[in-house]
Point group: C2
Chain length 342, copies 2
DNA sequence: TTAGGTTGTGCAATCGTTTGCATGATTTGG
DNA sequence: CCAAATCATGCAAACGATTGCACAACCTAA
């Protein structure tokens, strides 16, 4: 267990002061050094295999070169590509990422924010933000850069990267409309998540635009983005509104749950009820009937978020506060024209 | 951007020395403090909302309370549950996890090990180890605790948690044998990964045990655990050995690739060729024909690995160097009796 | 009563870097 | 040829916590 090399060791070997070594090894040091000494030091450092201790440096500079990444749950297929996008973008700049799972539990989220702060993260990227998120609000107040991915906060000062939920919903609605559907239900996401809220709003708006009658009672809010919730809501919605011919779900998991719900009522997808999702999870290609959905850019959302954070960390000219990534309608087998009722 | 509270601030507020505060807040401090002072300090600290700066503490104690987790690629469905198992187990003990993706590229792995070392991780859990891994070997030499999950290293001093690959292969082989298969091929994993090597060895051994004729030429080594490789190897193997009726693939991805390969030759799964995988990825339930495979415990492997690391970090009595988790045969639709050739 | 033992707290060094300032060496210009 | 400017390097103080040691106050026992 040989001790870690320090600046002091290099300094001794190169017969200079530690501060000189520090400067020689710092590419953008303000103080000037002679080429000769600088090179000698670099050579010695490399020979000895010197590696800086970022903890010590972090203590002095108050920069840990780490960022916190908060997600609800890494085992949810939506998040790994986002996390990968973040890591791939940040790593070349020397930032390491600390990953934490909040399970969408507010207290847990608050505790994990503390954990990250104690470790002196330079910034935080959250994919787990609630519309009204006290923890995030506090971070902002403390001046710690925060980026919210996939979701938005109600407070408008938090930079975000989201998908174009609005356009996505309109595309789905138009698809239904073109097929001939007129009674369309919506299984919405949780009210406290921006994705749920934005998509529900887009749904209402879209219905109106297509001249569909009041659709407020055709929206059913789920409590969580989970299959079981999708099933429960679908059953309840179809019980109350048996004339529905199409079901627009706020995400894929709700849609897969809707499949079960529809079948439990003795109906078929899509012959009796057309179903759509949102996100385009990788599994979908293989679950029959293959789900018609909206594809969002997952890796890219992480990438864009990381860039936004880098910009904030480098104190750069503050770019746009929000980035909206384009989406794409993916038509598969879960949608068809309604049974003719003529 | 109000400054972070430090021990000094608390000390001033409680009118004691910083060292006293440090001791009061350290649950297992060796020095004794009067109840009264200790409580007063705790109250003041809580009131002020003091949070220790782990960076500073880490510098002094040489413990960062972070661990590095190295995986090939978080977007591979095998890894998220493992990572979650690690994080869930470590977090309650105050450890944060830094996640890095190696993409199975050795140079990248070496660089990332440096990144982790610079950050002073207290230990490393790798799910990306090669059988012969110079980076890991160096860590061991430096006395940094390392645990290898899912894979083993050839050097025997690295504690590991693996699944019972051996039993898993025997179960699959017995399953084939019971169905009546006698010409069984094996698409093996890469030679430099222990999973590939162990499974191939178990295959050979199992063939012999069942009295099957020399099977060495029925093993085909893939270069990577990827679908495309599975397809390529399957096609080549079946070209050379057209009498094969069953294909045992070293993991699920190779098996899914095998599906394509078999179909490209105009054959059907399982009627013409039975296929099996390994791991039981979540997608499998939905890809027809549903793959017969061996289920490994993913979350548990992370959990067990984390426990092993905790043990190593607490310098505890060194427990077993290896943990082998039980596996389970999952029979689905990709296997059936061979066509009768009577 | 006093020597010796506790007990509770403060002092100061330390961890490995970074960085403002001081200082000695060298160059420049008049 | 000397004063002033410039350059290269060293010095030492941070950063915020931990911890061995010193020391004062108190307690106990002979």
């Amino acid at each position: 267990m040989n001790k870690r090399l320090t600046l002091k060791d290099v300094a001794k070997a190169a017969d200079v002061h530690v501060s000189t070594v520090s400067r020689a090894l710092d590419p953008n040091s303000s103080t000037s050094l002679s080429e000769e000494v600088s090179n000698r030091i670099k050579v010695v450092a490399k020979e000895l295999g010197y590696r800086p201790n970022r903890i010590a440096a972090g203590l002095r500079t108050n920069k840990s070169m780490t960022v916190g990444v908060m997600i609800p749950d890494i085992t949810n297929t939506l998040f790994p590509p986002i996390v990968r996008g973040i890591e791939s973008t940040l790593e070349p700049f020397g930032y390491a990422t600390i990953l934490v799972n909040t399970d969408n539990i507010p207290e847990r989220e608050l505790r994990l924010i503390e954990v990250l702060r104690e470790r002196g993260v330079d910034g935080i990227i959250t994919v787990a933000a609630h519309r009204n998120d006290p923890g995030i609000a506090e971070l902002i107040e403390l001046g710690i850069p925060v980026i919210s991915l996939n979701r938005r906060l109600d407070i408008s000062t938090v930079p975000y990267v989201i998908n174009d939920d609005n356009v996505g919903m309109k595309l789905l609605l138009k698809h239904f409309f073109d097929l001939g559907h007129r009674r369309i239900g919506h299984i919405a996401g949780p009210r406290d998540l921006s994705t749920g809220q934005i998509r529900a709003a887009a749904f209402s708006e879209g219905c109106k635009a297509h001249g569909l009658p009041d659709c407020a009672d055709l929206i059913y809010y789920s409590d969580r983005f989970e299959e079981a919730e999708g099933e429960r809501c679908t059953v309840e919605l179809l019980r109350t509104n048996p004339d529905i011919t199409a079901l627009l779900c706020a995400n894929d998991r709700l849609a897969i749950g809707a499949y079960s719900g529809i079948r439990s009522l003795g109906l078929r997808v899509p012959e009796d009820i057309s179903v759509t999702g949102f996100n385009d999870s990788p599994i979908l290609e293989s679950i029959p009937p293959r789900l018609t959905t909206v594809r969002i850019q997952k890796f890219e959302i992480g990438q864009a978020g990381a860039k936004l954070l880098l910009n904030a960390l480098q104190g750069g000219a503050k770019g746009p506060i929000g980035t909206v990534l384009p989406v794409e309608l993916i038509i598969r087998d879960s949608t068809c024209a309604p049974r003719s009722e003529s």
